[in-house]
């Protein structure tokens, strides 16, 4: 059984078609890049998978079951914009996650946060943007989930922070789970991807293993993407 399957998925807002004919199968044990320009439907697709939006047509299956309460337990989601109350301290957010998610491993989170040399009694609002991103990623990756969905985890952070984020993803990745990373910052991340999904104007236009695509096109994924979507 596939970990994630999207069948003829479509999403419209009124007359505006945001996603169309999305058919997708994602097995366990892969790191997958969901790549597309801004406003092509990446976040909409991610929200549909997380059951935060209702499809106009088609369905999303996680472990063979339609998304809902059960799938939320096994999907760990890092949204593009934070939903955390920034007046909370890190310590409080950890407690919050412990209460909220059965599969949250607070020891793991503390261990990962320790490496950041961070005062956990500090409020989120007092931290730099990069630090906030790191804290949130640590929280999301410290859940023992089947599917991790990271929406633009690299946006707006410096290269050193990007490295930390990639390291954290790799360190916590295991063969029983998959990770979907949406981004338009491809060159920073393409080295760790098993597969890529190119999405444009609400449609999937390419899915491939990254190394096969490099071999075939004799270029980097970043270069292929730029060529394909030249403005």
């Amino acid at each position: 059984m596939e970990l994630l399957e999207c069948i003829n998925l479509e999403k419209r807002y009124g007359d505006k078609v945001v996603l169309k004919d999305i058919n997708l199968k994602i097995p366990r044990g892969k790191i997958i890049g969901l790549l597309g320009k801004n406003g092509t439907g990446k976040t909409t697709l991610i929200k549909l998978i997380n059951d935060l939006l209702t499809p106009t047509k088609g369905k999303v299956l996680v472990n063979g079951m339609e998304v809902g309460v059960e799938s939320k337990k096994i999907i760990s989601y890092l949204p593009e914009r934070t939903y955390l109350d920034k007046s909370m301290t890190v310590e409080k957010v950890i407690k919050y996650f412990e209460d909220f998610y059965d599969n949250f491993d607070s020891n793991k989170a503390r261990k990962l946060l320790k490496k950041l040399d961070l005062d956990t009694n500090q409020k989120l609002s007092k931290m730099s943007k990069g630090m906030q991103e790191k804290v949130q990623l640590v929280l999301v990756m410290s859940r023992c989930a089947d599917l991790y969905i990271l929406d633009e985890p690299l946006g707006g952070v410096d290269p050193a922070t990007r490295d930390y984020i990639l390291d954290t993803i790799l360190t916590n990745f295991n063969e029983n789970a998959s990770v979907i990373i949406s981004t338009h910052l491809i060159s920073d991340i393409e080295k760790i991807l098993d597969e890529v999904i190119f999405i444009d104007k609400g449609k999937i236009i390419l899915t491939s293993s990254t190394d096969e695509l490099r071999e075939k096109e004799k270029s980097s994924i970043d270069e292929i993407f730029r060529r394909m979507f030249k403005c």
Binding site: I31, L170, F173, K191, D194, D211, R214, E215, E223
Partner: protein, 118 residues
Amino acid sequence: MNIVFDNDRPIYIQLVEGLQIHIISGMIFPGERLPSVRELALNLKVNPNTMQKALSELEDLGLIYTERTNGKFVTTDKSKIEKLREKYAREKTSKYINDIKELGLSKKDIINLIKEME
């Protein structure tokens, strides 16, 4: 261990080449036990699946072998390593000769140049 990657080529091929160079140069000894796939992948910051693929390839080439429950080891067959060294040396030399010929130098010039450098 360190490998500098070029995103234009398949990562697993670059891993195979990089590990071969480590073996040829003696940075990894014949008979040495390799770290786990996971450790290697983290160390080189690549996907563990890609690392697994590269190690399978090296195993097919007979450069590493798996001892059940014990992990993966570098071959102790020194002639195999020697052959690989020669293959790389030839490839690199031929590339070098081509580059220098492009500058308009003859083979004799190249030999003289090398002698001068010594």
